[in-house]
């Protein structure tokens, strides 16, 4: 921020228009991404004094309290599990490690409402665990003993932490692998203990990445709806839907949504503050991998157990329960299932590509412009992630509807060819909406990765005569390849799981796996949708494996060497 806004210091005047072009591309993407927020502002433009008076008198502060508690809990547990696991698998060698490295990502593929359903099914009063306890000890009713209430804010924190910690794990692991190795080993050589070196060297170096991971987890937490509804924890998001659907006030709902968006702006501010507090570059493309210290005996198995725990609860348990259901319900609707699976896959692939390209252009524009203002604009473009999916869908419905109708009028007037609804009548609206929602994932991942490449590289490349586009292609892309894959993986998996946007924006006769799960789950027969649910989970494994090869290849190469 202290640097002058002139983007280069070598007097390469001829290159200036090029920089402008990148900045303009980035600005256009940011504006596009900002569309739902603008719609939201417009929708919220109404006087809802009466509803607000009611909310303030009754439930508003309960909503706020629950939302804040949920965020604190999820932030604590995702950073604990994510950073802890990332450090264990990077620093130490223990049984099953090579599998755990990628296995730890798997809970990312589990939609939180499915995990909530499965865990409740096992732990609630009528579930397997309590039933067994009652049988064992001869208790008769709920008043005879104490058992934690699973449908509670604690339960929601547990479920959300289990499915969201992989964000932190993923980014922390990449940071440990990419940058902490040399300095950590230096610190050890200089006589610092294991613990000291971790807290004084490795953790501060990885902090920007950890903070990004936690921010992403919190943005998802804020707009979470399925799990909190299932667990009967009224949050601000629950309030949005209540005011919108039960009190029939879209504008008051938009006002609460604006509050959530401000909440995320606060989060983003904290994140930026924390990232700016320490800026680290890596100097070369390939840093040597960290020396993995072999653990022995009980310690080794303890490490294995610690890593297995989140995988077991967050992935293996739902897989086991759903497989059991799926076996009982194999006979139903295979044809429909196939078409849903195809729709899900192609939409997710498309969204992953589009979103990653948009995120990259945005991040690169920010890098080239080096201006704080540009960075703020880009940050604003990621706010879609903090708007509840259903609200975001409505936020792009109106502008897209206007665009569709205008195009239709034009085509009819000029060519006498009524176009119908080009976007909102097709899957086009879906891909656009996913991109606007998930651009936060790609932009933040790629921006964090680009920011670790020293600006001197750009300068060197340009001194040698490469233009900015060529520099991106030849220098930056190869260096950030793992992050590109990470970004695509995150968007792919999240699109597979996405429900509210898909429900609102899909065209006629169009099902995805998640809408199929919802269809039956809302009939209170999740058991019968288990095949579709299982597929969502399993599909999440594929990109995880591809990606783990990438971050894994630089991580476990020097094992015991």
């Amino acid at each position: 921020m202290s640097k002058p806004s002139t983007p280069h210091s070598f007097g390469l005047v001829t290159a200036a228009p090029q920089f402008d072009r990148w900045v303009w591309i980035a600005v256009s993407i940011a504006l596009l991404a900002f569309v739902p927020v603008i719609t939201l502002v417009k929708l919220s433009w109404a006087n809802n004094l009466e509803i607000w008076q009611h909310l303030l008198d009754t439930v508003f502060w309960i909503y706020v309290k629950n939302t804040v508690l949920l965020c604190i809990g999820v932030a604590f547990f995702t950073s604990l599990i994510g950073t802890g696991a990332a450090w264990l698998v990077t620093r130490f060698d223990f049984p099953l490690k090579s599998m755990l490295v990628w296995g730890l990502l798997l809970p990312l593929a589990v939609p939180s409402y499915i995990l909530a359903f499965v865990i409740t099914d096992q732990l609630e009063y009528a579930g397997f665990v309590q039933k067994s306890l009652r049988a064992l000890f001869g208790w008769q009713t709920a008043r005879d003993y104490w058992f934690p209430e699973i449908r509670s804010i604690q339960g929601a924190i547990a479920v959300l932490s289990l499915v969201l910690y992989p964000y932190v794990y993923l980014l922390a692991r990449a940071a440990f692998v990419e940058q902490a190795a040399q300095l950590f080993e230096m610190s050890r050589c200089l006589g610092k203990s294991q613990t000291q070196s971790f807290f004084n060297v490795a953790l501060p170096l990885a902090r920007p990445a950890i903070v990004v991971g936690v921010t992403l987890a919190l943005m998802e937490t804020i707009n979470e709806y399925g799990t909190v509804e299932f667990f009967a924890v009224p949050t601000l998001t629950a309030g949005i839907f209540d005011v919108w659907l039960n009190m029939s006030s879209l504008s008051a709902a938009a006002q609460i949504a604006m509050m959530l968006v401000s909440f995320s702006i606060l989060l983003l501010g904290l994140e930026r503050y924390s990232r700016n507090a320490g800026k680290f570059y890596k100097l070369t493309g390939q840093s040597p991998a960290m020396f993995a210290e072999p653990l022995k005996g009980a310690k080794a198995w303890l490490a294995t157990g610690l890593c297995l725990l989140p995988i077991g609860l967050g992935f293996l348990l739902p897989i086991a329960v759903l497989s059991n259901y799926a076996l009982r319900n194999l006979d139903s609707g295979l044809e429909q299932y196939m078409s849903s699976a195809w729709n899900s896959f192609s939409l997710a692939a498309m969204a992953a590509i589009v979103t990653t390209v948009l995120g990259l252009l945005l991040a690169y524009g920010v890098r080239l412009s080096k201006s704080a203002k540009m960075r703020s604009i880009a940050e604003a473009a990621t706010l879609g992630y903090a708007i509840p999916g259903a609200v975001l869908a409505v936020g792009i419905l109106y502008p897209l509807g206007l665009l569709d109708n205008a195009l239709d009028r034009l085509m009819t007037a000029w060519f006498d060819y009524p176009l119908g609804l080009l976007f909102t009548g097709t899957g086009g609206a879906l891909v656009l909406a996913y991109s606007l929602r998930f651009i936060a994932l790609s932009y933040r991942t790629l921006d964090a990765s680009l920011s670790k490449i020293t600006p001197e590289m750009d300068d060197a490349s340009r001194v040698l005569g490469a233009q900015s586009g060529r520099t991106l292609w030849r220098i930056h892309l190869p260096l950030i390849r793992p992050s590109l894959l990470t970004a695509m993986l995150l968007v792919f998996v999240d699109t597979m799981k996405e429900l509210p946007i898909t429900l609102i924006l899909r065209p006629f006769n169009f099902n995805t796996l998640s809408t199929q799960v919802w269809d039956l789950a809302s009939l209170e027969q999740l058991e019968q949708s288990s095949l579709a649910a299982l597929t969502i989970l399993l599909a999440g494994i594929i990109p995880v494996i591809i990606m783990s090869r990438n971050i894994g290849s630089s991580g476990s190469g020097r094992k015991g060497n």
Binding site: N246, S346, A349, T424, G425, D519
Partner: protein, 344 residues
Amino acid sequence: MKNTPFSSLMALVVSLVVAIPAFAAEEVNLYSYRQQSLLQPLTDAFTAETGIKVNVVHAEKGLTEKIKAAGANNPADLVLTVDIGRLEEVRAAGLFEPVNSALINEVIPAHLRHPENLWFALTTRARVIYAHKDRVAAGELNSLNDLADPKWKGRICTRSGKHVYNIGLIASVIAEDGEAAAETWLRGVKDNLARKPQGNDRAQAKAIFEGQCDLAIANRYYMGKMYYNTKSPEQQQWAENIRVEYLDQQVGGRGQHINISGAGLLKTAKNKANAIKLLEFLAGEQAQGLYATANFEEPVRQGIQTDEYIESLGDFKADRISLQAVAEQRAAAARLVDRVGFDM
């Protein structure tokens, strides 16, 4: 490997182009709050009979906004819902147009239609009390008001007060007795809850089976769904433990509260004639029979063969209050739930 993203992208483009609704002659387009699995047998039968293709979007939220945003180009003809509130939402937005069909006017009773025929009920859904067969004596519970009696303290289960089914029930109490009386009543019910409102209607039956509560507020058709559920035999046990209690059946009593599933014709519909044909089909004997035997709801048409098990649960007198009047109290009901802290 390299071609994968590109080929899937191309395939998607192709599938999207195909997905653009072709405005071919014989079809009708539905926006539905009803799940695919329930609706499909009905639409398949309609297509078989008339040759008219039925295109469906199943959604939960935002349908009104979707119709509004599309403006004159809105592709949908009909909206189907499972709750009076959602129908009213579309009507209040001014998106429905009256249907004049002699057949519909004849078979659907007036109190199950909008006064200007802007919407119709296709089935009714009774929100009854599930009572444990042994732990609650027959005749011990007669009226909605009884639910507020302290003798049920710690014995009642229900889903969230904010769920559309409960909002409809509470709105009917407000419409009938006024807001003050409804508040006293709802506070009484809250004091009797065995646990924080949670889960769905089926989960309440499970809680009765497990002994967590003795009474539950739930929709009657779930009894059929549990009783015939061979895939999850435990649900059959839940149903076997339950006696269905109908409320306010005494002479002069208001009658059992019901909600509806229903439909309305959109002003911007492009296939009006086909849409009305579909409405008439859904009110016809075949479709009404399917509603009654496949989903265990009560047909709106008289003299329809219903399900044997559901019949064994007994007959009831339904509340005849205007559903329009109930729907108008929905926002008040939602606020009441907040004021009482019913879900907290």
